[in-house]
């Protein structure tokens, strides 16, 4: 049985198509999930894609975090379902309190769009287990509100528990505390990442294919846990 990975579409999602394509290139079946349906269609994992859900009104990701699909997704994530939130999806995960902290406006006030070097710092997650610890990758980054903030105690806790999944290398593009580009929950099944691995899965369209391992990793995690067959 092939792994089935859901990709949620909110009003204003942009990268659901690319996320589904990355899922397929990694060898899983991509399943479209709709924000208005409290139904995960029995998927084995979920990607919350990038974009501007609800036009970024109120706060980025805040209205989406109250969507019907999120009510079931939050419970499933607490139960161990692998969830990857990319960019706006990371904002939705923070607003849903599945991940600590918040994403705030870039310190430069500019929308940043560039190829960004990251260092993968935790490979003990459902979404990064096929990377080498400390591996540097290059994937696109594009955000206006990507500055990760949390209080010092939370930041210390994230560091101590090995939950900083990825850090910016070379330049901190948005003022994120401690150069944090991505974090996970305690269990490692929920990961939020500001840059875009789903845009770096094919040589034709991406700067690298470094992002593909996020999607291969979740398939690996599902096979290893016995959720799906190899």
């Amino acid at each position: 049985m092939t792994a089935r990975v859901g990709v949620v579409t909110f009003p204003g999602s942009l990268d659901d198509g690319d996320a589904a394509r990355a899922v397929r290139l990694a060898g899983a079946e991509a399943v479209s999930l709709w924000h208005g349906d409290a139904d995960l269609k029995s998927v084995d994992a979920v990607v919350l894609p990038g974009g501007f859900s609800y036009g970024d009104y109120l706060r980025c990701g805040s209205i989406a975090s109250f969507a019907p699909v999120m009510s079931v997704l939050i419970d499933a994530a607490h139960g161990g379902l692998p969830v990857l939130g990319i960019c706006n999806g990371f904002q939705v995960l923070c607003e849903s309190h599945l991940l600590p902290g918040a994403l705030t406006r870039n310190d430069s006030l500019h929308f940043i769009c560039r190829d960004q070097t990251l260092r993968i710092e935790s490979v003990d997650t459902a979404w990064t287990n096929l990377y080498a610890p400390g591996q540097e990758i290059v994937v696109p980054l594009k955000n206006g509100e990507g500055g990760f903030v949390a209080d010092e105690r939370t930041l210390d806790q994230l560091e101590a528990e090995g939950r900083v999944v990825a850090r910016y290398v070379g330049v901190n593009p948005n003022g994120s505390r401690r150069d944090i580009a991505g974090i996970s929950n305690e269990r490692g099944n929920v990961v939020g990442l500001m840059p875009h691995p789903e845009h770096a899965v094919e040589e034709l369209t991406g700067p690298t294919t470094d992002g593909l391992l996020f999607f291969s990793s979740v398939i690996n995690a599902l096979v290893t846990s016995g959720s799906v067959n190899a």
Partner: protein
């Protein structure tokens, strides 16, 4: 009829780059001595009928969940009775 006003501001320790940009513009337009600018949001919520305790309690809850993010923001809630 009642009007509830919810003011949302970034917590003092959170960098406010928008406020900083406004601060710069105020200076360029001749206003001297501006030491800080913080930009916030105001929600003006008009309600039918009496604002009973149950609705006020729900409003308080929503002010701290939907209207503001307690990780980065504070809010104040003010009730104005309308004639």
């Amino acid at each position: 009829m009642a009007r509830v006003v919810v003011d949302v501001t970034l917590k003092p320790e959170i960098l406010d780059p928008q406020g900083r940009a406004v601060q710069g513009a105020l200076g360029r337009l001749g206003l001297q001595g501006v030491t800080d600018v913080r930009q916030g949001k105001q929600f003006v919520i008009d309600l039918d009928g009496e604002l009973d305790d149950a609705r006020l309690a729900l409003l308080e809850e929503l002010a701290g969940t939907l209207l503001s993010n307690p990780v980065i923001e504070n809010y104040t809630l003010t009730v104005q009775e309308l004639a």
